[in-house]
Amino acid sequence: MRNVLLKELQINLYSGKMLTTFLLLVTVFLISLGMMYQEYQQRLEHYNLSVSGAGKDWLVETVWSMERPDGDLSSEAIGTFPMGKVKRPQPLSYFARGVDLEFSKPVEYFTHFDHAKIHVYPNHEQNLFKLVFDPPDLLAVVTILLSLLALLFSHGLFSREKEEGTLKQMLAAGCSRASIFGGKFIGGFLSLWLCFTGAFLVYALALSFVEAQVMSGEPAARVASIYAACTLFALVFYSLGALISAFSRSSSTSTVLSFFVLLLLIFIVPGTSSMFAQQFAPVPSRQEVERNKLDALHKIQDEYAAEHPDENPSIRDGVQMFVGTLETVNEAHQRIEEEYERQQQNQIEMTLNLSRASPTASASNILSSLSLNGLEDLKLYKSEQQNLLQQIRNQIEEYSSYLWATYPEWAGFGRTAEEQGELKKVFDVQTQYEYASMDFDKSMSFVWLDLFLLSIYTLLAVAISYLLFLRYDPR
């Protein structure tokens, strides 16, 4: 077996296959790094602006205030509210961008200040072609290029020997089938693994120059895990290539089959799983959710009006109605949002489960989670945003109580320095808020299933290819 293994390594080394593969991987890895660096710097700039702008550039003014003949005060106050702070982009985005675009959507304040909400920034100010052609992160390179190389390394492992008749000679020379299989399989994979490891080290070294913090402490453990996951992913495709090779009698058949498997597992299975999940676990559109929220608001306000028939529909009572129903409306809206979240979550889980039929989806999940840009990180971010919204709402209530206590006749807000100070407390909630990130152990807890599945795929592919190899009749 040792001889077969060494022979396989030597063939790959002397034929230039290893050097070509190494150079190809290094080139594409560095191209990916360059493009991702550009994108990461833009995200960072966006984040820095949001931090320096959070809690600033707001102005609340009483734009009209005059005493009426009846002694009442006619007044109007309007204002602009500060921008929200976004979550800091993860330096590990170089490895997998995942859902990090969602993290650039901050909690904003509604005009008229009735609710805080999550604002969606339009992409209009950006180059729209970036929505068409995303820069490739390491995950894209690994899923497309590394899987392709793994198949190219293994698709001719046995079929070429069969075609050229050398397998017969090896068997006639007394080599056991187990040693031929083991030697060729391990030798071939070792060649690929050496190329990948070398290229990954070059990539990590280059990354450490631009983002030094990625290579120390917890991020370094994540990078090491990403490397291990990529190796396992390459092994899955290498094993599938070996399986195809053991099954086919000619190298051209195994080439076609390998490419078909590549297209199927990388593009078609994951893509169609998302489509099937949309059919079987539908989610209402955002417009439907907003309509449900509006219906709930009207229903609560109608009930409030029915319970308080003695109140006049003046501005002051409008405000009273708003304050009186605020809590009930918030609760109703929260229930609708929670139901929407639950349905979305169902669809996400169904998509993930269906797409796990392909190792690519498992690898995407692992790399995104380890890069802190996975679906679980999005879930955490959303719960943090809800938490922040609640804190803002609490502060708004405190501010409203202050206003009622200070101005029993209600004359709007933004009149005195003290009042501006009270209002600033609302904005300070967000300025001082720090979004938490998942720790390494927690991230790992979401990837075990996918790692297990990748291992199972490998074992199955190796076992079946060995059985097929045993069935080979040299006559």
């Binding site: 493009m35 602009t80 921008m83 180059n127 894209a140 051209s252 490419f259 489509m275 509006l294």
Partner: protein, 451 residues
């Protein structure tokens, strides 16, 4: 002679396993993808009409307006950037705002993207085109059959062209069947009555796909003619496939970003706030002067001072709007310039050409979205100018008077001529690619020495 070679190549491939893969892709996966995206299309369309319905009940049309972009009919074939780009422009007399309404796109699609026809043709079918063509000539060299072909009086250019036509036909005939099946499914699922223009657009969509497949096939044939053995040509073909689909278009964006860097969207938001805050401060000053005037003249009722407060509000609105438009134009001009550089640079890749052409034709690309925003802005400007004119002529006008006779927004998207016009340049580049690579393949094949 070309016909004989093409037929031979066609029937040779039809009997192989590769053809089964093509059949599976075109007759099964393509219709499934169109069927699924058609369901999304139904949902998006329902939402669009729902939003229009809510907007029709807007009781403050004199100061607030929401304009929505309808879902393009060919969305189920080419999703383009429709799920992410701006599809609603909201105006408020005091502040202008553009929004992306949240689409039906699932969050998982950020990690696992869904497939549409443009993706299946652009990435998967092009990969299969390379797979069918990589050994078209190098395989004959390896199998020694090329010397036999060379011994006949068949011109070498005929061999190259015949093989190219044969391989392209192997891909395009199943694709045509799958495409027709998809169109039928689309009509069945959505219940849309397609206009003659839509059928023409669909036919052009097929022609563009055919052009792209033909371009990729001739690149594969040229590589095959350049190389001596099959494994080298396979390696080269896969490398070129990766370069065309995953590196060059993205590198074009990176180059455009480096050449013309843009400020992040937050910067614009900040500057807009500064404009709004300045407007507010000026309004406070104007109103303070008005309160003094009221005191001097003894005005106490809203009937007396109302027209002046309205005037101050309108003055602020006009100044703000001018500030917003000037800022947004400045940002927009820069981002459009970067976009143009990206668009031109991505034409170096046939995949970039194909994607641009089909998005333009389907009305789901960057150009169509820019067109919608421009149209909405023009309309908003006209609409509010009329409101302000009416208000300044009659400060006591009722809400009904103000909105009476105002124009209605009806955006139907670019007409077919415009869409075809936008697709012409990338389609022309694809034709150029075909001509260049036919010449390259013939030249490389002519240099081959059969001895």
């Amino acid at each position: 002679m070309i016909r004989t070679i093409a037929e031979k190549e066609f029937f040779l491939i039809v009997k192989t396993l590769r053809f089964l893969v093509v059949i599976l892709l075109c007759l099964l996966i393509l219709p499934i993808s169109v069927w699924t995206v058609s369901s999304d299309f139904n949902k998006e369309r329902k939402d669009y009409f729902g939003r229009l319905d809510v907007e029709s009940r807007n009781e403050r049309k004199e100061s607030r307006l929401n304009l929505f972009r309808p879902v393009p009919t060919l969305y189920p074939f080419v999703r383009g950037i429709d799920d992410e780009a701006v599809n609603c422009v909201s105006f408020h007399l005091r502040s202008w705002n553009r929004q992306s309404t949240e689409s039906t796109q699932s969050k998982t699609q950020m990690i696992i993207p869904a497939v549409d026809m443009a993706f299946l043709v652009g990435i998967v079918l092009s990969g299969l085109a390379f797979l069918l063509s990589y050994d078209s000539i190098s395989g004959e060299k390896g199998g020694r059959t090329l010397s036999l072909i060379g011994s006949f009086s068949t011109p070498r250019s005929s061999v190259v062209i015949g093989k190219w036509i044969g391989i392209s036909a192997t891909l395009l005939i199943p694709f045509l069947v799958g495409f027709c099946l998809s169109v039928l499914l689309f009509v069945f699922v959505t219940g849309v009555n397609l206009a003659p223009g839509d059928y023409l657009a669909l036919a052009l969509l097929f022609l563009l796909s055919a052009l792209y497949i033909a371009a990729i096939t001739i690149i594969g044939v040229a590589i095959s003619a350049l190389t001596q053995n099959q494994s080298t040509s396979l390696f080269l073909c896969l490398g070129v496939w990766g370069l065309i689909c995953f590196i060059l278009p993205q590198a074009a964006n990176a180059a455009a970003t480096s050449l013309l860097p843009l400020a992040p969207p937050h910067e614009l938001q900040r500057q807009l706030r500064v404009v709004e805050n300045n407007g507010l401060r000026k309004l406070v000053e104007d109103n303070m002067r008005l309160v003094e005037t009221c005191k001097r003249n003894g005005w106490t009722s809203e009937r007396e001072y109302g027209p002046y407060t309205t005037w101050n509000n309108l003055s602020m609105a006009t100044n703000n709007r001018e500030g917003y438009i000037s800022l947004e134009n400045e940002f927009s001009r820069e981002s459009r310039m970067q976009e143009e550089i990206s668009g031109v640079a991505s034409l170096v890749s046939p995949y970039g050409c194909f994607k641009q052409a089909v998005m333009s034709l389907a009305g789901t690309g960057p150009g169509s979205h820019r067109g919608f925003v421009d149209e909405a802005y023009r309309f908003g400007e006209l609409y509010f100018r009329q409101v302000i004119t009416k208000w300044s002529e009659n400060p006591n006008a009722s809400r009904e008077d103000l909105i009476a006779g105002l124009p209605q927004f009806s955006y139907r998207g670019d007409d077919l001529n415009d869409r075809v016009g936008k697709a012409t340049l990338p389609a022309g580049v694809l034709v150029l690619v075909i001509i260049v690579f036919i010449s390259a393949a013939v030249f490389a094949f002519n240099r081959y020495d059969v001895r």
